[in-house]
């Protein structure tokens, strides 16, 4: 009996324990499911809120903080974003709020390891990889459990500097890669009289002004931009090579096959000096400046019989000298009004030629220009639209003069006409007030500038100024080339003052004109400087033998500001020299980009990156920022099934939706066209990208709502093909192959265009690149405004993924994180 009884008791006890443990198992599983519900809701809502700004959405701002320290997440916030699970706990299991403890933090914050971009003065402090750590502890009856998870996330910038700040970005622009179009005064000689194709650059200043809500455009352009050295975005970046930016045509017939230095500069006004300002400046320096009392003393005035655009205004002395009116220390014979321009013109094959055949007409070339320019410019100024030729770097925006209509004559008018056609919808509002021109080009990179210096004086208002500035006129004097052996025979410091001493090959009218130059520019020493400059310069460590033969005889090359000082500082007591000495190294003279101001004017925040070969700018290294991956464009099981389309195309709204950094390892061509998109994203694809039709943003960006701005950067390994002339709203970078246009297609990129190499022969019909301000994130933009440019994504990368269940009663008694 006892044994039986004992067995019975054991059975009962066993049953009891079985029952209890079964119930514990249930409770344990149930409480885990509850905690997971809370975690799920928190993570889900965090995920939903990571990219939506809101005053009560603290996580949006916390993930975008500039810190590498752990960031605690407010428990009240975590509880607030998990209302449904709390309600469920109460209704289904009678669990009160006090029995639910939630803790969270952002941890493991680290910068992305992209070569060059990890340097402190370069890296974007907002970008990061990090993890959320969320722990939920729930107590239910006698059970308690903590579910702790770790979820990695990335904060990525959706634009790719420095490319994102560029209208045109070329890595290797050596002539062998760059290619050329046949050109003669703006024509393709083989297609004359059809105009030559062009690549037009519009740096988007009009948009920039709108974005900054500057009601006074003049203040932007003349005060903020010029005086404060704030240059809007949109510039040409060329890393290396002498760039045959080809075929610019001047109304005079002068071509601008222009090479640019690595310095930041506004090309239209490399030296644009208001004489009034100059006088004020000099007066402030304790110098007395007076107007030239004798107009006949004008050394560069119109003596050729051609009407001067300066009208009756006394012409200036460009550099004071004995002939110019006995300028002495503290005194100048500068006129009261007007501006002095010193600028450079480029060169091309057609400039070198004595004459060229254009259709059935012979036109003057280089020799004619330098030896007979007085007649040459007139002939060429009557030529066709000079704007529709080549890569025009000289445009800008000017405010209409009060009471005037659109003064669209001359080069600018025609440029404007083209741009107006292309972007009329965008510019319509501004158009009423401003003459929109192709804006000035800012050039970065290891590129050598060569040019022919010209002295130019303009004394009247905007209309005449523009007219004069961008066409040749009798107030402009080119500096001809002297053979070194000729100069050696002359006293170096004595200006040549007699026609007999000039080369016999010079025509009499040229001699006459040249002799009216300031004496500083007539000294053999000055031309010796020009010649020796060519031989002594060794910019960027390049071997002169490589590029020397490419330089035309008589051309200068040097960083612009050095050349300019060489050009106009022959006399110690020259007011202009003093002026230039004082301003030449300052931003006010050579405008640096606003992004450069923090770090100096010679390279900007990315100078270190680009001090090495630009191959270091490897967009594919940005894979570490990928927030989304697909391994193929099309489903390998069904090639007609586009994974890309399925994943990113919203069929309901009929629009692509892109976010973050999308990394496509498939090599199939990505065909985009006849579609719209929204969102901010970088797409990096191993395959080719073909644009088959218009590919536009959903809507025009509203500057008031940066969070709604769309910006798409496409990096392609397989090359880019423009099989359309329609507008493509994107910044496009072809990593290996030069961009290619289908025959008859003239590409139109609204955003920016970049390539490792750019071959003009592959884009035979040219194109337009308009910089889109939406890609511009200036240093001065505060974090709140720039926040929408950063996409945050929970990436579920395995190495940081964590999931833990533990039992820890202490969390219900302590405020410490579980």
């Amino acid at each position: 009996m006892l044994v039986i009884f004992t067995l019975a008791v054991m059975l009962e006890k066993q049953g009891k324990h079985e029952d209890i443990s079964a119930h514990m198992v249930y409770k344990s599983e149930a409480i885990t499911a509850m905690a997971e519900a809370v975690v799920e809701e928190i993570i889900h809502n965090i995920r939903e809120q990571l990219n939506i700004a809101g005053n009560d959405n603290q996580i949006y701002y916390q993930v975008r903080q500039r810190t590498t320290n752990d960031i605690p997440i407010d428990s009240a916030y975590l509880k607030r974003i998990s209302p449904n699970s709390h309600k469920m706990l109460l209704e289904e299991f009678s669990i009160e709020d006090q029995d639910v403890v939630i803790k969270g933090k952002i941890t493991d914050i680290a910068a992305f390891d992209v070569k060059g971009f990890t340097q402190e003065d370069v890296r974007d402090e907002i970008e990061k990889s990090a993890s959320f750590e969320i722990a939920i502890s729930i107590k239910w009856a006698d059970q308690y459990k903590t579910v702790a998870i770790t979820r990695p996330f990335k904060v990525v910038r959706t634009t790719m500097p420095v490319f994102s700040e560029s209208t045109l970005f070329v890595n290797n622009a050596q002539p062998i890669y760059f290619g050329q179009w046949p050109s003669l005064y703006g024509y393709d000689p083989g297609k004359f009289p059809a105009p030559q194709n062009t690549i037009q650059l519009d740096h988007g200043w009009h948009k920039y002004s709108k974005y900054n809500k500057k009601s006074d455009f003049t203040r932007i352009m003349e005060t903020d931009t010029l005086r404060q050295a704030m240059v809007p975005p949109g510039r040409v970046f060329i890393q290396k090579g002498i760039v045959p930016i080809t075929n610019g045509d001047r109304a005079s017939g002068m071509l601008q096959k222009t090479f640019h230095s690595h310095e930041s500069e506004l090309l239209p006004a490399q030296a644009q000096i208001k004489l009034k300002d100059l006088k004020t400046f000099l007066t402030q320096k304790g110098m007395t400046v007076s107007a030239d009392p004798d107009p006949s003393a004008d050394p560069v005035g119109d003596t050729s019989g051609t009407s001067s655009t300066a009208g009756d205004t006394p012409a200036p002395t460009v550099a004071p000298g004995a002939e110019a009116g006995a300028a002495t220390e503290g005194e100048s014979n500068l006129p009261d009004d007007g501006e002095l321009f010193v600028r450079y013109v480029g060169h091309g094959e057609e400039v070198k030629a004595e004459t060229s055949k254009l259709g059935d007409k012979d036109v003057d070339g280089y020799g004619k220009y330098f030896y007979s320019f007085l007649t040459g410019w007139e002939e060429h100024s009557a030529g066709p639209d000079p704007a529709i030729s080549g890569l025009d770097l000289y445009g800008r925006i000017v405010e209409k003069e009060a009471g005037e209509g659109f003064s669209g004559g001359g080069i600018f008018g025609k440029i404007a006409g083209l741009i107006k056609k292309a972007t009329s919808a965008i510019l319509s509002k501004l158009w009423k007030k401003y003459d929109i021109r192709i804006s000035p080009t800012l050039v970065y990179g290891q590129v050598i500038q060569t040019y022919f210096p010209i002295v130019d004086y303009v004394a009247t208002g905007w209309t005449e100024k523009m007219k004069n500035t961008f066409s040749f006129n009798p107030n402009q004097v080119p500096l001809p080339h002297f053979d070194p052996s000729f100069l050696e025979k002359l006293p170096q410091d004595e200006p040549i003052s007699e026609a007999e001493k000039l080369p016999d090959t010079w025509p009499a009218d040229l001699k006459e004109k040249w002799l009216k130059l300031p004496e500083d520019i007539r000294k053999p020493k000055f031309y010796k400087i020009i010649n020796t400059t060519i031989l002594q310069q060794n910019p960027f460590g390049l071997d002169f033998q490589e590029f020397g033969p490419l330089l035309p005889q008589g051309a200068l090359f040097a960083p612009a500001w050095e050349a300019l000082l060489n050009y106009l500082v022959p006399e110690e007591d020259s007011p202009i020299r003093q002026y230039l000495n004082n301003v030449g190294s300052k931003d006010e003279f050579f405008l640096s980009n606003e992004a450069d101001r923090k770090y100096g004017f010679t390279g900007g925040p990315y100078a270190k990156i680009f001090s090495e070969p630009l191959t270091d700018f490897n967009p594919f290294l940005f894979y570490v920022k990928a927030t989304d991956y697909i391994s193929a464009i099309y489903d390998p099981r069904n090639p007609k099934d586009s994974i890309f389309l399925k994943k990113y195309y919203n069929k309901e709204d009929e629009i692509f939706e892109f976010k973050g950094v999308i990394y496509i390892t498939g090599t199939e061509p990505l065909v985009l066209g006849n579609a719209k998109y929204r969102g901010k994203a970088i797409i990096i694809t191993f395959g080719k990208v073909i644009f088959s039709g218009p590919f536009r943003k959903e809507k025009e960006d509203d500057p008031e709502k940066p969070e709604d701005v769309s910006a798409l950067t496409i990096i392609t390994l397989g090359g880019v093909v423009f099989d359309t002339s329609n507008r493509i709203d994107a910044q496009i970078y072809s990593y290996i192959f030069p961009p290619l246009s289908a025959p008859g297609k003239r590409f139109y990129v609204y955003g920016g265009l970049g390539a490792n190499m750019f071959d003009l022969t592959r884009v035979e019909d040219g194109g337009i690149v308009v910089f889109d301000w939406a890609y511009h994130i200036p240093l001065t933009m505060d974090d709140k405004a720039r926040a929408p440019y950063y996409h945050v994504a929970i990436t579920d990368e395995i190495n940081k993924y964590g999931y833990e269940i533990r039992r820890d009663l202490s969390v219900f008694q302590s405020e410490e994180p579980p």
């Binding site: 009996m1 039986i4 009884f5 067995l7 019975a8 008791v9 054991m10 059975l11 009962e12 006890k13 066993q14 049953g15 009891k16 324990h17 079985e18 029952d19 209890i20 443990s21 079964a22 119930h23 198992v25 249930y26 599983e29 149930a30 499911a33 509850m34 997971e36 519900a37 975690v39 799920e40 809701e41 993570i43 889900h44 809502n45 995920r47 939903e48 209302p83 449904n84 699970s85 309600k87 469920m88 289904e92 299991f93 998870i149 929970i794 579920d796 999931y803």
Partner: protein, 170 residues
């Protein structure tokens, strides 16, 4: 055997064995004694049997609850790990009381799951719907209720598990 007295003649040729007890002292249990004993034994067995029944019941109950828990957790994991679109979608009516056949028939993903592999004493009902009235809508709530009758008492029993899941669930 204990209570009977054999009184058979000795086999022939074999000498009689001397009885250890005198003839007059041979005794047995009276029927009364036997009855009392039987009652006592019966009385003692009742709690033992009850104990055994209770133990068995608890073992059954614990086993059933464990099995029900396993079923519920299994179904929850199955649904959370399966295609998000397989169940309640935005705008749809909350789906209630789905049985296993309906659950497994929702997606090829569940191919290989067989309702018959679950003991039919258990009734499994699945509810999938929005995780509350507060957005976001993409968060779903799944409730799995497993009901059964106790094998000893036929009393109805059930457990439930509730959790949330989303397209990118844990």
């Amino acid at each position: 055997m204990f209570f009977s007295q054999k009184n058979h003649p000795e086999p022939a040729g074999r000498p009689p064995v001397a009885s250890p007890s005198p003839r007059g002292s041979r005794a047995g249990f009276t029927i009364i004694e036997i009855l009392i004993t039987l009652v006592l034994v019966t009385l003692l067995f009742i709690p033992i049997v009850q104990l055994m029944q209770l133990g068995t019941k608890r073992v059954y109950r614990g086993g059933d609850e464990t099995l029900a828990t396993i079923y519920a957790a299994d179904i929850i994991e199955l649904i959370r790990g399966g295609p998000y679109e397989a169940f309640y979608e935005n705008g749809q009516k909350e789906e209630k009381g789905l049985d296993l056949k309906e659950v497994f028939g929702r997606s090829p993903f569940f191919k290989g799951y067989d309702p018959s592999s679950y003991i039919d004493r258990f009734t499994i009902a699945v509810d999938v719907g929005p995780a509350g009235e507060i957005p976001p809508k993409k968060l779903k709530q799944v409730r799995v209720t497993v009901a059964w009758k106790e094998r000893t008492t036929e009393n109805p029993k059930s457990i439930k598990m509730v959790t949330f899941y989303s397209p990118s669930t844990l």
